[in-house]
């Protein structure tokens, strides 16, 4: 029996495994890098051991340190989670050698499946269907092909090549990337099937030769080969196909003497044939959807098998309803998926009934690695959380998941939330017609969720009124009261579509007497004058029901809308039933004096030029020393007030200057 388990991982998966441990009475040990010192997974563990440093290579990928940590903390078992060392056979062996229980397949099985080329060769012999592949690019005869790294996963190193001309370069760059990411530059070219779907089968095997399958998962919604929406069952899998897939998966597991939880991935072509891709010898990120419909705790079963017990199944368990998982990433889909780092000021998803374990009844499950105030850095995977909806039908699960995501309050980081909602609400998705190219063929899912001019305007108005309520909170005088009303109050925000200026005027009773939201130039934002603030006719009539610093309720054309406003350092996060928007308030008084002083440099006092360190035409940065003056035995340094080019130099060493003498002219950048 395992008494104390070390999880060689971080974030949501560490918390997920700890949750099962708590449920069955196993003590827990966390490891953490310096950056993760305040992470929830550390706080939730019974014991925690620091892995000094931040880079994954210095921390979560250091098997030696982790084994030492397990021994030091008195752990008797190690669970690798997913990613990091989870599919590292050497690490598994080191754990076993340290007389610790390894929660995972035998090291040999990991090693076999770790090489995609070897695995393909082995399973082809066992009769599993394969796509043709070549290690020598010159042998490629049919295009397009997918260039893949033999080691590793997660889409890294993968490239689709459509013609021979670009093949050599693609292979070379894939080799470089694979070598740097996995320490193994072996790549191969596999026939690329257009319009294919990604289907995988969850398998469980025990040490007594029992192998069961727990249905399939479809993970066709991907961005750059990274799964973002996963579900079970797949709308493309018929009972017959399921039987065939599961049979193939069992063959794969048995071929390598598999023990524990694993996933066999297949490609399903539009014509209905499926091909083996690879086997992942670990718990998958998307395992919760299987837990929902099968009603099992996969982590608990992993521990059971690791303890040497037999699986408690006679055959594949029945599937109940439909589950969909969405992965929330701190990244900006609209900016080439650039990761977003910083502080997550708020993370709240409404209606979540369960976390980190199987749902007892249909509903929402949240597996998250973060909470309010978490700092998301550059060192690790930017996945924030997984939200899983389980419902009686696929349509119901999709509706529950999309609504919860749409109403989630996620402040401080850019995320793929809007994209997830748009995918889950897309007619093609709902019809089940999806494939791995879904995002490329449906660019409309990249549009922000908060659409429509009025929705944006009203969110801006709500943010402005919340600010007004904040500023007026201390006094019982009416906000912005005037005995001679002349101009509305103005606040300008930088929003997703540029600069917007809100004008509003409250009357003596606090009612909204006039308002408008209009796009403005940054320079003119907030400035009274020419544009005026009268209500344009196309604005919907809005009345204030209530206004507080954190919540504004408006009556818009007879419909009551509630806006939650969370303000952090001048940034307002506005969430409403119409969507979310982040608005950065522009300064009311942009600083002007400093910038204007760049240009001509004059002597600050009378004296003699002692040194000249620049020549005309030279590029200088702000703060660079340009020349020195001597006066009254003191040396005075003249620095560049801004970066630019030295356009003119009027003095040389020995020049006598008076206060105000022009020394040099700088053309600022």
């Amino acid at each position: 029996m395992i008494k104390r388990l070390l999880v060689a991982n971080r974030g949501e998966i560490a918390r997920r495994i700890f949750a099962t441990c708590r449920a069955i009475g196993v003590e827990t040990v966390a490891v953490y890098s310096n950056a993760d010192a305040d992470s929830p997974h550390v706080a939730e563990a019974d014991f925690a051991v620091n892995l000094p440093g931040n880079a994954a290579s210095a921390t979560y990928l250091r098997g030696d340190l982790i084994v030492a940590a397990a021994l030091r903390a008195g752990a008797d078992a190690v669970h690798p989670g997913y990613g990091f060392l989870s599919e590292n056979a050497d690490f598994a062996q080191a754990v076993v050698d340290a007389r610790l229980t390894w929660v995972g397949p035998p090291p040999k099985a990991i090693a076999l499946m770790g090489s995609k080329l070897e695995a393909k060769a082995l399973l082809a012999e066992a009769g599993v269907n394969m796509l043709p592949s070549h290690t020598d690019p010159d042998e490629v005869d049919v295009f397009p092909v997918l260039v893949k790294a033999s080691a590793g996963g997660g889409g890294r190193g993968m490239r689709v090549v459509r013609d021979r001309e670009s093949l050599a370069e693609a292979v070379a760059s894939a080799r470089r990337e694979a070598a740097s990411a996995f320490g193994d530059g072996t790549v191969f070219c596999e026939r690329y099937v257009e319009g294919a779907r990604h289907i995988e089968v969850q398998v469980l095997a025990d040490g007594f030769g029992n192998v069961v399958t727990l249905g399939e998962r479809e993970c066709s919604i991907q961005r750059r080969h990274q799964k973002i929406v996963e579900e079970t069952p797949s709308p493309a899998v018929t009972p017959t196909l399921r039987e065939e897939l599961c049979a193939a998966a069992v063959i794969a597991a048995q071929a390598v003497g598999y023990v524990g939880a694993g996933t066999v991935e297949f490609l399903l072509s539009p014509s209905g044939e499926f091909y083996f891709l690879e086997m992942n010898t670990r718990l998958q990120v998307e395992h919760p959807v299987t837990e929902c419909v099968v009603g099992v705790d996969l982590v608990r079963l992993q521990l059971l098998v690791a303890e040497g017990d037999a699986l408690p199944f006679d055959g594949p368990p029945p599937l109940r309803g439909h589950a969909i998982e969405a992965r929330l990433y701190a990244e900006d889909p609209a900016s080439a998926w650039a990761p977003s780092t910083g502080t997550l000021h708020r993370f709240a998803i409404p209606g979540v009934s369960h976390a980190f374990g199987p749902l007892p009844v249909p509903g929402l499950r949240l597996d998250s690695g973060v909470g309010d105030g978490s700092v998301v850095g550059v060192h690790y995977d930017p996945m924030l959380a997984k939200l899983i909806a389980w419902g009686p039908s696929r349509a119901e699960a999709a509706r529950l998941l999309s609504t919860a995501l749409a109403h989630a309050r996620i402040h401080g980081l850019k995320t793929n939330r809007d994209l997830l909602v748009r995918v889950l609400r897309h007619p093609s998705f709902l019809a089940g017609t999806i494939d791995t190219g879904f995002l490329d063929t449906h660019p409309e899912v990249f549009a922000p969720l908060l659409a429509g001019v009025d929705a944006t305007r009203l969110s801006c108005l709500a943010a402005a009124l919340a600010g007004s309520a904040q500023r007026s909170a201390a006094s019982s005088l009416p906000s912005g009261w005037r005995n001679v009303p002349s101009a509305p109050q103005r606040v300008a925000f930088e929003g997703p579509t540029g600069c917007l200026e809100v004008s509003y005027r409250l009357d003596r009773s606090g009612a909204l007497a006039e308002w408008s939201v209009r796009p403005v130039d940054r320079d003119e934002a907030g400035l009274p004058g020419a544009a005026g603030g009268a209500s344009p006719h196309d604005h919907p009539p809005a009345a204030i029901v209530s206004a507080a610093p954190d919540r504004v309720v408006l009556d818009v054309s007879g419909i009551r809308l509630s806006y939650a406003i969370h303000r952090v350092d001048g940034v307002s996060y506005v969430d409403s039933s119409e969507g979310s928007v982040t608005l950065t308030e522009l300064p009311r008084f942009p600083a002007r004096s400093a910038e204007a002083s760049a240009g001509s440099l004059v002597a600050p006092l009378p004296g003699a030029v002692t040194r000249v360190l620049v020549v005309p035409g030279q590029r200088v940065s702000a703060g660079d020393l340009l020349l020195t003056l001597e006066a009254m035995k003191l040396e005075h340094a003249v620095h560049a007030p801004a970066g630019g080019i030295v356009a003119d130099l009027r003095v040389g060493p020995g020049s006598q200057v008076e206060t105000g003498t022009l020394l040099a002219v700088l053309n600022p950048d």
Binding site: R471, S475, L477, N483, F589, S593
Partner: protein
């Protein structure tokens, strides 16, 4: 504390008549304020904006803290005269960086911001309020100086503006000038006498004499920038303490100066609102001034929680006195209940004013009086003596007084109820109110009686037709000259206010007058001069 009851029936014909009469007066007020806001009119406003400049009120809006209140003073100055309504200058009390300040802004769209006798009076009144309430003063300057055709009326008294600025400084009341354009000749002394000066680059023009006058005086050929440009004053003469890049930057710098004045805020805190709707205030004052109304109905819609402790309720019942709070500030109230002041009322007032002085409680006068009672019985009972008692108490009371004329203010009643001559800290008028030595009909009647007596004395026949004509003309003239807008135009109040704003205006004013009790510094602690500009 006892809560005032109300007998107001909004559906009664009198209430509906009162309300419609008041709404007509408010329409006139709105129209007059519209004229004030229009400044020099569309042509000049457009030209001013085209030059990239902000209007006086736009400069003020940008200067003030967002969402903070602004009480504009004397907005109707010069109403009913040949000069523009508002007199080419905007004055008022607002909050800048959390500090309550007096703001004075020239309106350059009105004859270049030139000073006429009404602008001078308005500016000086703002200065007086700043001085008595110790409010920092911010001048937003752009004025061509004296309106030359009117120079005879303003040149000599006009020097008082500069005197007052330096006296504020000497009293430790900071003065800040932001110069957006012309401030020449005498106008140059506004920045000259200010503690802090901010000049807008390429816009400010501050010199004693411009190029033509210099050429005439000394023969020197020179230009605006050399004589008075912002850059020159910031780097050479030292008249400018800060050089602003543009108007918004100038206002930013002014706010930065205020933020460093080491002064606190004085806005009222939270307080319970009245129990009755202030909207009702439009239906309470009688459409016909001759019909008295109960001021308790007004107080029930002005005082915190409608709570009022009446003093001597059974004595001198034509004057209601008592204690309450407005926006949290304690206040003693004197309000005319039935127009006439008798001996009892005068004595009650004198006692009440002494009590307020004893407890240092500010006083609110709600004027609706036709004056002290006349007639042989009353004269013999000493009505002058008792009136003098009341006037003595009002004149020498040292707590802050606020006066609102809510109806009539006639005769010596105006004095006893702290009219303009008795220096209330603030005096506001409702649009329905009238003020004069006596009612128009009475005044015409008196003139008629006197003329008839003169004719009789000379044995001449009295022309009744001419008399009727004279009476109608006089009545009309007096009626016009008694009206709120007319008197406000002559700066006999600090503004005509919407009755529904009364509680807000008084609360804001009480915050202003309270600030002074909090920050008074004794004269001995202060230097005897304003800050010398170096």
């Amino acid at each position: 504390m006892p809560v005032l009851e109300t007998d107001l029936d909004l559906r009664s014909s009198s209430a509906m008549d009162n309300r419609s009469a008041m709404l007509r007066r408010l329409d006139e007020l709105t129209e007059a304020l519209e004229q004030a806001r229009a400044g020099g009119g569309d042509k000049y406003v457009t030209r001013h904006h085209a030059r990239g400049k902000l209007l006086a009120r736009e400069r003020i809006e940008l200067l003030l803290d967002r969402d903070a209140p602004f009480l504009e003073l004397s907005p109707l100055a010069a109403w009913g005269t040949d000069h523009s309504v508002g007199a080419g200058v905007v004055t008022g009390i607002g909050v800048v960086e959390g500090v309550t300040c007096m703001v004075i802004a020239n309106d350059p769209t009105v004859r270049g911001g030139a000073v006429n006798p009404y602008s001078l009076k308005k500016t000086q009144r703002a200065g007086e309020i700043a001085r008595t309430n110790r409010l920092p003063m911010i001048n937003l300057v752009e004025s061509g100086g004296a309106d030359l055709p009117a120079q005879a009326e303003i040149f000599i008294p006009g020097g008082g503006v500069f005197r007052d600025l330096t006296r504020l400084s000497a009293a430790g009341i900071p003065t800040i000038a932001v110069v957006f354009g012309n401030a020449t000749a005498g106008g140059a002394y506004v920045p000259g006498m200010s503690d802090y000066t901010i000049f807008v680059r390429d816009r400010a023009k501050v010199f004693l004499a411009g190029p033509p006058l210099v050429k005439m005086a000394t023969g020197e050929d020179t230009d605006d920038e050399s004589l008075g440009g912002a850059q020159m004053h910031a780097t050479r003469s030292g008249l400018a303490d800060f050089l602003a890049e543009d108007e918004r930057d100038g206002i930013r710098l002014a706010r930065a100066c205020v933020a460093r004045l080491n002064r606190g805020s004085a806005l009222p805190g939270m307080s319970p609102p009245p129990k009755y709707d202030p909207e009702d205030l439009l239906a309470i004052p009688s459409a016909d001034l001759r019909v008295p109304f109960d001021p308790r109905e007004i107080l029930a819609r002005v005082l915190d929680g409608s709570e009022f402790d009446e003093f001597k309720p059974a004595y001198g019942t034509a004057l209601c006195t008592g204690w309450g709070r407005i926006h949290g500030y304690p206040i003693g109230v004197l309000a005319n209940a039935r127009g006439i002041l008798f001996s009892q009322e005068a004595q009650k007032a004198a006692q009440f004013i002494q009590l307020a002085n004893s407890s240092r409680t500010p006083l609110l006068f709600l004027q609706n009086t036709t004056g002290y009672m006349v007639g042989a019985d009353y004269e013999q009972a000493g009505i002058i003596k008792h009136g003098a008692l009341m006037i003595n108490a009002v004149a020498n009371s040292t707590v802050p007084h606020l006066t609102v004329n809510i109806g009539a203010s006639y005769g010596a009643g105006n004095y006893g109820m702290c009219g303009r001559a008795y220096d209330p800290r603030f005096l506001f008028t409702w649009p329905n109110a009238k003020s004069a030595v006596m009612g128009p009909a009475q005044l015409a009647g008196v003139l008629s009686i006197v003329a008839r007596q003169a004719a009789e004395a000379k044995g001449r026949p009295y022309d009744e037709e001419q008399d009727a004509q004279m009476r109608a003309m006089v009545e009309h003239k007096i009626d016009k000259e008694s009206a709120a807008l007319f008197l406000s135009g002559r700066l006999y109040d600090d503004g005509v206010i919407d009755p529904r704003d009364t509680r807000t205006v008084l609360g804001f004013c009480l915050a202003v007058v309270q600030a002074d009790t909090a920050v008074v510094q004794s004269d001995s602690e202060r230097a005897g001069y304003g800050v010398f500009r170096m």
